[in-house]
Symmetry: C2
Subunit: 514 residues, 2 copies
């Protein structure tokens, strides 16, 4: 029996649900979460999809829908594409829902990524688009052993001290236990000699298997010519390395999404969004603010404001990438459970602050890219990875989220700037006076975003509900994936929505009267 006949019989017997079941059985399931979208341009022939929102999920949706033969319209409220993928440069304007707007006054060539600013090497979907669309990438330095870990009292140590003195201490403690025989029952076939050999090497242990410090942690006297040998820094104490303030420094760069090698597009993250917009030439309508979605049995009608006009268009399907709270506020005829789920989504709060400055961190601290971990409400300093050795750069001096980010976002602009300056002063005494031309991004105050990402557990009923279509409306966005807050999440969510629509279109075609 040919596949088509098989599906048609199943559909005739049980309708759409049965046809979907058959599609599952045939490996055509729309639920394969990382399946590539269809590249057969006949799939969507004669069908139209309206995509709400021209952020990454919307752009990827539209791009893939076009490849699958669908007619596409993208409605984007802002005058630019990208959504949270947003790079500001001198001359740009930053609006706010609650505070005064800011004019960006950076020098030419300087930029700041207000939203995403790094790409891990295993986020192959978004990296694949960079390759496909010709977006040049460069290395983003996400971890530098020269970067500081800074305590509230201003004490600062380098990451090479944290990493290597920690190794020294844990190795010394384990060597003591191994030598005492206390570990014999736990070594799983590794004998004491091998364990000790490992620990001595791993922790740079010295005489008596004690850790006396190591040049891995850096030098108090740099090695030089002739008689000048390098002298290791005094080691951090066990109390230092187990201090709760070190937590971020210990775990951040080993998070699988933060590990090297990482990338950034040359010239700003928005190069990705702009490349999609070029590929979608004419299908992205900017300054179109969605006002309503009305769904029926055969399609949906979307109404929007464009300048002073109100327009509407009918389509076979809608993919909404709007943040859930914004979609929840629109008059849409969603089912009650779907509407209720939308209203249950809460967005997080996150703030970023960037300053233009001469590169004192390079000249005086030998810090080239990477992050400083601050025991301070701004959490991070983040040094620019590009333009190394040039005069000027944009230093990030605040990136917080969660309750701390929400609270920080409620402060006045003046208080936010003062806090950011104080953090720079703590890490780089005497240097905060060199900071100029700040930009402050409070994501909860950003029109059309109202937050950096959703706080939505992937095991919640709300998450499950919103991952299913409501009538002919599908949702897409990073927050509907296990890669929330990343462009990769936006892309795989878009793929899933496109696959689902393609599968349903195939099913519709198969079950249509012959």
């Amino acid at each position: 029996m040919r596949r088509r006949d098989f599906v048609m019989r199943a559909a005739a017997a049980g309708g759409y649900g049965a046809a979907l079941t058959m599609l599952h059985a045939l490996g055509l399931s729309p639920d394969v979460a990382r399946a590539a979208p269809p590249r057969d341009p006949t799939v969507g022939r004669g069908r139209r999809v309206i995509v709400l929102g021209g952020g990454m999920a919307g752009l990827v949706s539209a791009y893939e829908l076009e490849k699958a033969g669908f007619a596409v319209t993208v409605l984007e409220a802002r005058g630019r594409v990208g959504g949270r993928n947003w790079t500001v440069r001198g001359g740009d304007r930053i609006d706010s829902l609650t505070a005064a707007g800011q004019d960006v006054t950076f020098d030419p060539g300087q930029y700041f990524n207000c939203g995403p600013a790094r790409l891990p090497s295993h986020h192959h979907t978004i990296l694949g688009y960079c390759r496909e669309l010709g977006v040049p990438l460069e290395v983003e330095v996400n971890a530098s052993r020269s970067a500081y870990v800074v305590r509230k009292d201003g004490r600062r140590v380098r990451m090479r001290q944290v990493v290597n003195d920690t190794r020294g201490h844990v190795a010394e403690l384990l060597a003591k236990m191994t030598n005492q025989g206390a570990l014999d029952a736990h070594l799983e076939g590794v004998d004491r000699t091998r364990m000790l050999d490992f620990l001595r090497m791993y922790g740079a242990l010295g005489e008596g298997d004690a850790y006396a410090g190591s040049t891995r942690a850096g030098f108090s006297q740099a090695p030089g010519a002739a008689g000048q040998g390098g002298i290791a820094l005094p080691k951090l104490s066990l109390a230092d390395v187990t201090d709760p303030s070190m937590r971020l420094a210990h775990v951040f760069e080993e998070d699988v999404d933060m590990q090297p090698t990482m990338f950034q597009p040359v010239g700003g993250m928005d190069q990705i969004a702009k490349a999609f917009a070029r590929a979608l030439d004419g299908r992205v309508c900017n300054n179109c603010i969605v006002r309503a979605v009305a769904c029926d049995a055969t399609g949906a009608t979307v109404t929007w404001r464009e300048g002073r006009d109100t327009r509407s268009q009918r389509a076979d399907f809608v993919i909404s990438t709007l943040p859930a709270p914004l979609l929840a506020r629109l008059p849409c005829n969603f089912s009650a459970p779907f509407a209720q789920a939308l209203r249950a989504v809460v967005l997080d709060g996150s703030c970023k602050i960037g300053w233009q400055a001469p590169r004192f961190w390079e000249r005086e601290d030998e810090i080239y890219g990477g992050l400083a971990y601050m025991d301070h409400e701004v959490r991070f300093l983040w040094y620019p990875s590009a333009g190394l050795h040039s005069e000027t750069g944009v230093l990030l001096a605040c990136y917080n989220a969660g309750p701390g980010g929400v609270a920080f976002g409620k402060k006045s602009l003046a208080a936010q700037l003062a806090s950011s300056r104080a953090a720079v002063e703590l890490a780089h005494p005497g240097k905060s006076r060199l900071l100029s031309k700040p930009v402050v991004i409070v994501w909860r105050d950003q029109p059309f975003s109202e937050g950096p990402w959703a706080r939505l557990p992937t095991d919640s009923p709300v998450y499950a509900k919103l991952n299913e279509p409501d009538g002919r409306v599908y949702l897409a966005g990073d927050w509907l994936t296990h890669i929330s807050g990343w462009q990769e999440g936006a892309a795989v969510s878009a793929h899933r929505a496109v696959n689902a629509i393609a599968a349903r279109t195939r099913a519709d075609n198969l079950t249509a009267p012959v």
Copy 2:
């Protein structure tokens, strides 16, 4: 008493040695191993220095001597500057003392750094020259969590597994000991609760303080949309992570000279040498092979071959940067102890092999830069850090040294290439067929180098002896520093030689008849 009078009286009383002692006392010591060279152009007025060798030590010496007002001639045996700082491109020729020469046939834009290929961010002398001379730098990816560690039997794991599963195991073992109270006597004021909090976070411990694996080590199923959660890879065993074959993977990237952030000049390491040559416009004489050095009480005469001609020049001082065994073979009137010390220096053996290839490591393995650690005689694969996402790159597939490097260098070219191919096949099954256009550098076979660096302990009498001038001849080179094998060492050694000559010139001037 004015400083000049003070020194003159001392000199009058005790001669040159006493004057030097006074210079020490005044903080003008030539032995300050990382002191900046003089920038006063009157210091060397009317004095000439001949520099033997146009590698990094020679170029830095000449550049600084000029700033201090000395007249300078650099004699370089090769047709290019840089010495071991050497980048090959299509059209270049690689000569050998023992094997057939090789023609480099890389495509345009491809290159291979035969010698140094990375700059640590704390090597501020050489980085300072890059800034001063306008040599653009880019990030060199020296550590990637995606890179493989490959065992002899072909089993390969990713660096993220090695690093994070090791942390998991050591944290689990220490948590067991902490819970048993076995560490109580060793926790140096850290209580059990704090220690356990630290270990759980550090090692990603799970239930019962056991390490059950972590997504820090990577995924067996990548996280995706909707219901597709990420699933961690099965953890490596304690036996795996303590395996002696893991040694290099555990320690290499925490060596203080190998830690991120690291750099490479855009377009090849030789951009640094070329920038010095431009700054020394006309003072570097290529194709000049030194034949003899004759020193007397007031200066030295250097004789060299230039094509078919023999030439000689007299100078007040000589700085020789020639490898010790090469200088030892020349007819020079060195003192017996100095000549004996020169003859005692042994050069190491090191080999590098590069292949042009399509970037299968990026497309199929998500490896962008960084090193693979091979339990194989080639030791490393090293992936290109530039041109990410382009079609073609040059893959290093051999970089060994020490006894292994010496032995590898004695193999036939065919055997070397076969070994290198086999290593690539081990790390990337099926891919070695894509390798083409190899270049093999055996440093012991390189004319005018005869080795990659010296094997010379910094606490040996030979090292001490050669760090002192013999008459008016000074030596400079990375091997005379505690930063052997690095361009930074070459630079600080050059600074020391220039400082010593400048101090001696000042002393000569002070003690000359008024």
